[in-house]
Symmetry: C2
Subunit: 391 residues, 2 copies
């Protein structure tokens, strides 16, 4: 048995960022930038009025002669001479010769002339060219998963397309004669395949393309056929433990499966496999649905991050205080389903009383997993604990 | 001018949850459940072995006779009599007559017989029927945005379909003669429309269907045509402020636009409009990209939550400590772009030095918005602040 951290490190070390592709900006949210994105133009690309008012020369005094009007998108063609003013609006280009804007609240219009109650200072109500960023400057660094705000920034930088990592294709199959789909007749002694639904949507959420291979029976030839699947990573669920009906390793050995490791010192989820089937990395998750999804969070997600070249790959552990108490831990790393609440600025995590690895309902209700290191000592109410927040 | 909280309350009060639709479970992630989902079956639906081993009668002693084998998905047809054992595997149905499982590690097989080093206690290594949940029990309550874990739970409850809220169709248009798309030739004095890209992906992220109406020129007839758009909510960007070229209200008045309110005591984003264009709610966001997206977070998101019937509608404010200092605030509620870092279990928020509402780059880089209430006092380093985390 190896430690969780070593297993993650070995999986991540075995994977490389996928190739990049250029896509239109409008479909880039949630994709991972494959190359630094630099601005094509200054933002703003000219000095802009931030008020409705009048462009003036700050050195002038007294009433000004209004020589024109320049709404946003309709710049004034000429330049201001001494004593001139040009009517402007929020977003208007500040015309040549002007170095200040006076707000319309401080102006009194009188035919062709305008009087001000305020004396302008240079730069007043003007947003200088390039205030936000300048042409050539770095807008978003490679390795970032693009947010809606990033998309707006890249648009402002005049970038209609971006280079992102191709979506990893993650093929997955559940194995087990006992499995059927929800709503279908159950086999005798059968159960509904549930974790495939969780895994499919996690894979999408993490920016990958899922390929659902369905439910495979416990027959070597069915499992051996996985060797023909085209994908970037192959995931099996079930069949990874020690029993006689645990066929994944046995069936895939003749297909060229090279084992890297299996069995992790953790709970839930001990029987995890990682290796390569030909050139394709293969992650064998436990068949138990809770174990399967916890292991997907702990091992598949970092694998996906490595293939996407994500700059931040660590799982976001947070600190919390323990509600209740916890017995001393044995040699396996525990992930306890817990409900969280904020109180008085502190985050409190309460582990559910029963933690049987089959219990999906408390997994769905959990806000976080409390991480208990191997041989962690007994903890009392209020003790500091590490948690892995769930969405 | 009205307060942010009043504006949100008035928007939310004007909107009702949309009708529901039934969809397959596999496409339900991120959708909002429209009716409580109850289990169709017990989970597990029979007593299950949690180990590879042997089903036995706990009252028996000594060697047992192995009368059969029952892999997962292949239940034993008969029942155990005195002295009998049945070979089981993880996930196997526990046969009639058996009340305990002994692990194979503690068993020695000898032909048809098996000897144990352990004395079984009733229920040992058996997961009882209905441990996770029972048929008819509530699995997921209406109003919840479904997670991957929820989908697995609903599958285990034998629910191939769920009832969810229809996706709200959010139509949006940017207004302004000065606007063009990234990569297209700029107009003289023109700027790139950027917030539409942010808004489009926010709308998708929040579980809605965006309808991009493009960029509208500053002409009343172009804006008046919005009255013909079919959608659940109409969003305009720009044209909501006080200048002569602010046409939205003027152009839509003759189309039956009924104003609820406009102008919010906040920064960035004062010129916000809410009302109804015929039967369609209309939210007019400011034209400034940062203001526009901050207002989308503060006002459009709760509107969407109300249309989706989401059970948790409040924005998730968190507490943090201030890095740097902040001057006393005036009568407007401020939303300051800030970078956050965790240190020693505390979350620290550092506002960016320049907060000009045009600055998209620091908005993209921000981890949170620091919320400054109207007339908030001067704050020194380390003071407690409220933050609105950004994704």
């Amino acid at each position: 048995m190896i430690a969780v951290e070593e297993a993650v490190a070995r999986i991540v070390a075995a994977l490389k960022p996928l190739e990049s592709e250029r896509i239109p900006l409008e479909s880039a949210a949630g994709r991972v930038l494959a190359a630094d994105a630099h601005a094509k133009a200054d933002q703003p690309s000219f000095a802009v009025s931030v008020m409705d008012g009048y462009a003036v020369r700050s050195a002038d005094r007294g009433a000004r002669r209004v020589i024109g009007s320049a709404p946003a998108g309709h710049p004034f063609a000429g330049a201001l001479g001494p004593g001139d003013a040009v009517r402007l609006f929020t977003g208007s280009v500040v015309p040549d010769g002007a170095d200040a804007v006076l707000a319309q609240e401080d102006a009194r219009r009188d035919g062709d002339h305008v009087h001000f109650t305020e004396i302008p200072s240079p730069g007043k109500f003007i947003r200088p060219r390039g205030l936000d960023f300048q042409a050539g400057s770095l807008l978003v660094a490679q390795g970032r998963c693009l947010t809606p705000r990033d998309l707006a920034l890249l648009a402002a930088g005049d970038l209609p397309e971006v280079s992102v990592r191709r979506k990893p294709v993650i093929a997955f199959a559940a194995t087990g004669d006992e499995l059927s789909r929800p709503g279908q007749p159950r086999k005798p002694g059968g159960i509904v395949a549930s974790s495939v639904y969780g895994l499919d949507s996690m894979i999408r959420q993490w920016g990958c393309a899922p390929k659902d291979l369905g439910i495979l029976p416990d027959r070597p030839e069915a499992i051996a056929a996985l060797a023909k699947v085209e994908c970037d990573l192959l995931v099996t669920m079930g069949g990874a433990s020690v029993g006689e009906h645990d066929l994944v390793q046995a069936a895939l050995g003749p297909q060229g499966f090279a084992l890297d490791f299996w069995k992790i010192a953790m709970r839930p989820g001990k029987p995890l496999i990682f290796g390569h089937l030909g050139a394709t990395p293969l992650l064998g998750l436990p068949g138990n649905p809770v174990s399967s999804m916890v292991c997907a969070l702990l091992f598949l997600r970092p694998a996906v991050s490595a293939m996407l070249g994500l700059s931040s790959r660590t799982l976001p552990l947070r600190k919390a205080r323990l509600r209740g108490s916890l017995a001393a831990n044995d040699g396996r790393q525990d992930y306890l389903r817990a409900a969280c609440e904020e109180r008085d600025g502190d985050l409190w995590a309460r582990p559910f009383a029963a933690q049987d690895s089959s219990m999906l309902k408390i997994f769905a209700q959990a806000d976080a997993l409390i991480v208990r290191r191997p041989h962690a000592p007994l903890l009392e109410e209020g003790a500091a604990v590490e948690i892995l927040p769930l969405e």
